[in-house]
């Protein structure tokens, strides 16, 4: 009797199992596949894992990871999970970029989301394939490369326009900031990198037009850490404004470390470097008071909370975390509209046709340059903000010609 009962039980379980498998198939439905069986959509992330810009790389990665985690936890994109494939740009030499490109293409990525490239090397390398590239290199040379070869580079999109976005920096610092400059002398330092030189050109032009005397106008090698001669000139001339344009954190850190040994009453505008968390991390409290610029509008404050919740750290820099987060969403929205992550042409067209509202601003891509409109401090759809380091954090101070937060007198200025 017992063995008969056992037999019935086994047969019963077998019937139920067969029905469970065959009924959905017969009715035309597919059994939902286990999540691990769904092929992921691969996102290429060429960024600075090593080298001089590696601290920026951390922010680039964190922003991208936050967006991907968010999309995956909401069920993925078109029902497929996203997977990040990383590649190191090292110091952005052409051979480094080519190696990163080859690695990503071999991995079968369907989009590349970068932070930035130094020069148009990113356009020329990633433009060889049809896979879309979203980056924020902010250089006219890159935009020109796209414009000159639209047939080939239709897949390259820049979320930060050209250097022109910084063109009102001098005016903002000297006319809009509630600070009375003791003299009309300015010292300008820049590094031998086209992006920094172009921004300096705008700055110098505006300074001359406004009748300021340029007491030092200096280009030094990229990565320079010796400023004894320049500081000797600065201490002798006592300019009330010092502009330092570079993307190399060590340059400004070395300069500022020596400057504060015997400071003079100068406002210091360190352009991009203030956006790199390294500046505040290395300089600590002494970094307070230094000005910088970048696309990080006051409303983006909420990003800080999101960042803190995910990484357990207070965000100290600006731009590339939120930009990369935005870039993933720009692409994901376009893929959703197109319905196929491999229809690259349609996805790129969707970038242009459907502007995206992100943390950094409204991404309206110009059909000609395939870049957003950067129109100066607080202007354009992804506006540039003038900010100041306060309590070791980057605080927007001037935005859209208005004071967004209180200006704090730099600690080294005695008045």
């Amino acid at each position: 009797v017992k063995s008969k009962g056992l037999l019935k039980l086994v047969i019963g379980i077998g019937v139920v199992a067969v029905l469970a498998i065959t009924v959905p198939l017969m009715s035309g439905c597919r059994a939902p596949a286990a999540p691990e069986e769904v092929e992921p959509i691969k996102i290429g992330m060429p960024y600075y894992m090593t080298g001089a810009m590696a601290r920026d790389g951390v922010e680039i990665k964190r922003g991208t990871v936050m967006a991907v985690e968010e999309i995956n936890s909401a069920g993925g994109l078109l029902g497929r999970p996203l997977e990040i494939v990383e590649a190191d740009l090292i110091n952005c030499a052409p051979e480094d970029v080519t190696t990163a490109y080859n690695l990503l293409m071999a991995a079968g990525v369907d989009v590349n989301i970068a932070g930035y490239f130094l020069g148009p090397v990113g356009v020329h390398t990633f433009g060889k394939s049809d896979v879309p590239l979203l980056n924020a290199s902010a250089q006219q040379l890159s935009l020109d490369a796209v414009l000159e070869n639209k047939e080939e580079y239709w897949n390259i999109f820049d979320g930060a326009g050209g250097e022109r976005g910084y063109e009102e920096s001098f005016t903002s610092l000297t006319e809009l900031l509630p600070y009375e400059y003791p003299n009309k002398k300015v010292a300008i330092l820049t590094t031998d990198f086209g992006y920094s030189i172009a921004i300096t050109d705008y700055f110098r032009e505006d300074a001359i037009e406004a009748g300021w005397e340029i007491v030092l106008d200096e280009i030094h090698p990229f990565g320079n850490t010796e400023y004894g001669v320049q500081l000797a000139k600065i201490r002798e001339e006592k300019p009330s404004l010092i502009a330092f344009t570079t993307v190399h954190g060590a340059e400004v850190i070395s300069f500022f470390t020596d400057f504060i040994e015997d400071p003079i009453d100068s406002i210091i505008w360190a352009q991009y470097v203030v956006s790199i968390p390294e500046f505040t991390e290395v300089m600590g409290e002494k970094s307070n008071g230094v000005f910088g610029s970048g696309s990080y509008p006051p409303e983006a404050d909420a990003w800080d909370e999101k960042y803190l919740a995910r990484w357990g750290e207070v965000k100290t820099g600006a731009f590339y975390g939120p930009f990369n987060y935005d870039a993933v969403h720009i692409w994901a929205e376009a893929v959703k509209r197109v319905g196929d992550p491999t229809d690259y042409r349609a996805i790129c067209q969707a970038f242009i046709d459907y502007p995206y509202e992100g943390w950094c601003g409204r991404f309206v891509f110009d059909p000609d340059t395939q870049a957003v409109n950067w129109g100066g401090i607080g202007k354009g759809t992804v506006p540039v903000t003038l900010f100041q380091v306060q309590e070791q954090r980057v605080i927007p101070v001037l935005y859209d010609d208005k004071l967004a937060n209180e200006f704090q007198m730099p600690w080294w200025i005695e008045r």
């Binding site: 600075y48 894992m49 090593t50 080298g51 001089a52 590696a54 601290r55 790389g57 951390v58 031998d192 200096e218 280009i219 030094h220 090698p221 990565g223 320079n224 850490t225 010796e226 004894g228 001669v229 320049q230 000797a232 000139k233 201490r235 002798e236 954190g249 060590a250 850190i253 070395s254 470390t257 020596d258 040994e261 015997d262 968390p277 390294e278 991390e281 290395v282």
Partner: protein, 291 residues
């Protein structure tokens, strides 16, 4: 040029020269004794700086005197171990000088990447050994720069005395002149090689402590130091301690005045032009033998 400007430039040149001298001494010392061109000297610098950082502002917050002593001790053992584990086994083979040079290059890359994995890519710094500055007249000299200058001169004097007056130093000179001859007369060349690397690592550690507040610490910072050190060593004469120090000050002065008159972008190119001119006239460098 005003007297004040001239004074400031001379002070800047002297302090920069001291920086370059500190960078070059370890590299020139190890080449002078062993004839091994140690590509890993820059990586030794990086690790010396990281060790000092861990002992001070990074983790342990020890007093600076303890940081210096412990860093020197660790670097000495590190240099000793490096030579014993990597150089010594290779020296038994023919053409070991070339093999060891290539291996130092490989180990430099390994050490750089190890630093990247352990400490991350972000920059770090060390506080000045002595904070503050002097203001003699219209000039400004930071106390830390004075420490670098004193250290550079002290290292040069100590190394020269060590090589000229001590038994171990004379053994090193013997090995540098003729390795086989030194072995025949009973000089323990294996020990000499080990101690040479240990001293070179100590010099790199001291350089790291002195220079990190100026040039920061990151995994590849050693190459920046190495390239300058190489130029200084070549100009001074390969393996010449005195030559390296004098070359460091000459090059620093040229760089400072070039920066002042024609701009900072020309400092390094002129640095190289001077090197080429000197080597054309005197291929062995300024002091191409043991000083």
């Amino acid at each position: 040029m005003t007297a004040e400007q001239l004074g400031n430039l001379l002070i800047t040149g002297v302090t920069l020269g001291a920086v370059y001298a500190v960078m070059a001494l370890g590299l020139t010392f190890v080449y002078g004794v062993t004839k091994i061109f140690n590509f890993a000297q820059g990586a030794f610098f990086t690790w010396g700086a990281y060790i000092a950082w861990m002992l001070s502002s990074g983790y342990l917050h020890l007093p600076y005197a303890a940081v210096v002593i412990i860093t020197i001790l660790i670097m000495f053992l590190f240099g000793l171990g490096y030579e014993r584990a990597i150089m010594y086994p290779l020296r038994r083979f023919p053409q070991w000088d070339f093999t060891t040079m290539i291996v130092t290059l490989g180990s430099a890359l390994l050490l750089d990447n190890l630093a990247l994995v352990i400490f991350g890519a972000g920059m770090k710094t060390l506080p000045h050994l002595v904070e503050g500055s002097f203001n003699p007249g219209a000039f400004l000299i930071t106390r830390h720069d004075v420490v670098i200058l004193v250290a550079a001169i002290a290292i040069m004097v100590i190394l020269t005395l060590f090589l000229g007056k001590t038994r171990e130093g004379m053994a090193m000179r013997g090995v540098s002149q003729d390795t086989v001859g030194a072995q025949i007369v009973g000089i323990p060349i294996n020990r000499v090689f080990s101690y040479t690397f240990a001293i070179a690592a100590v010099l790199a550690g001291i350089s790291g402590i002195l220079l990190a507040p100026k040039i920061l610490i990151y995994p590849t910072v050693g190459w920046t130091v190495f390239i300058r050190a190489f130029v200084v060593m070549t100009l001074g004469g390969l393996g010449s301690i005195k030559g390296a120090v004098i070359a460091a000050f000459i090059l620093a002065m040229i760089e400072v005045f070039a920066t002042f008159y024609i701009g900072g972008i020309w400092g390094l190119p002129i640095f190289i032009v001077v090197l080429v001119i000197v080597l054309t006239v005197r291929p062995r460098g300024l002091f191409g033998t043991w000083a």
